[in-house]
Symmetry: C2
Subunit: 212 residues, 2 copies
């Protein structure tokens, strides 16, 4: 083993799929989420996303990044029709079904049926949740921000509801997503369970951290 430097030229010279795996590995561990949507007629869609980010706590905003290459963009089409979507944490019992949602199904096929997951509807959100997910988040789209450099779009959305077991929430507001069996992803196809090393106290200059 030896230390190597990969340059921008090295990246350009990589075979396309090799580079895609390589570059997708670089951010580190990513969340694994299923995004549920439906069209005006109620036809459901389910897609796996690893680009889901926290945008802010007040107002409560989350973002998802929609890629141009991301197959036919049924998620975005449905979003334009209804404005609503759900974020559902992938857990270790549904990894294969979640990953299978990345296959390029025709628009008339619902991934729920194709992979064997169960839609779950709440009266507040015009989009299906995944019944098998332990943490379900319902959102309403607020804004679509184009990223012109590579034709991707950041969908900014407000959180309308969260559905989960109450004992995932600790007394300080932290949600124990490890207890909820949520998994992490690396690159495009590797799924990981986690083991907590530590929670650390709020950091201040000159003050030692404590673990809890």
């Amino acid at each position: 083993m030896s230390l190597v430097i990969f340059s921008a030229d090295d990246l350009s010279a990589m075979e396309k799929n090799y580079r895609t795996r390589f570059i997708n590995s670089l951010p580190g561990f990513k969340p694994a989420n299923l995004i549920g949507t439906q069209n005006k007629l109620g036809k459901t869609n389910l897609a796996i996303f690893t680009q889901v980010i926290h945008l802010g706590a007040n107002p409560s905003l989350m973002g998802i990044l929609v890629r141009p290459a991301a197959s036919p963009r049924h998620t975005l089409e449905n979003l334009m029709e209804t404005g609503y979507f759900t974020i559902n944490h992938v857990n270790s019992t549904i990894i294969e079904k979640a990953h299978q949602c990345s296959a390029r199904y025709e628009k008339e096929i619902s991934e729920f049926d194709a992979v064997g997951l169960t839609p779950y509807h709440s009266k507040n959100i015009i989009a299906p949740y995944v019944a098998e997910a332990n943490i379900k988040i319902g959102l309403k789209m607020q804004q679509i921000i184009p990223i012109s450099l590579n034709d991707t779009q950041l969908v900014v959305a407000e959180i309308l509801e969260i559905i989960m077991e109450d004992d995932f929430v600790l007394e300080d507001g932290y949600i124990d997503i490890e207890k909820a069996d949520s998994v992490a992803v690396s690159a495009l196809d590797s799924y990981h369970s986690t083991k907590r090393k530590a929670r650390l106290s709020y950091a201040k200059p000159g003050k030692d951290l404590s673990r809890f």
Copy 2:
């Protein structure tokens, strides 16, 4: 334990710090990265970011989300001066030092000195790497995209180089970040090591997945 629904009103009614922890937990597992920058005079800065995302493989783009509340925004100020930054994976041996970088140090204090990490300079990037990080990425800022709804900014940057041991890279381009001891974060303060469940094959309609 029982299933509960948290509404938007419930979120609004939460105490501020409670809500911050709660909302920050929702995306799922996040990458743990240290962002290295320096000003025109060479004064270094190091900040921990969990909002680092893959934006695209061709061109090779990554994004970091800069928050208005994020203490004095030394990272953004340095970025405006030099245009360069580094992304350094946090590994299990430097969790405490990385977390301590979230303390609000005065601008004249370098977090490298304050927390005991070692700056490492490459000739291509006007920003310090973290010597102790096993995966180091050097980038040049391309664009700052404002997210008007909550005054955050998405910094879009091109990857110029990656420095790591060659045996982290598998033959298909996948980088084994678990082997590199990279950690995941949940919410604001919980650090997790990982255990691979499976890599899954490229999904196609009607085709069974294989594990590898």
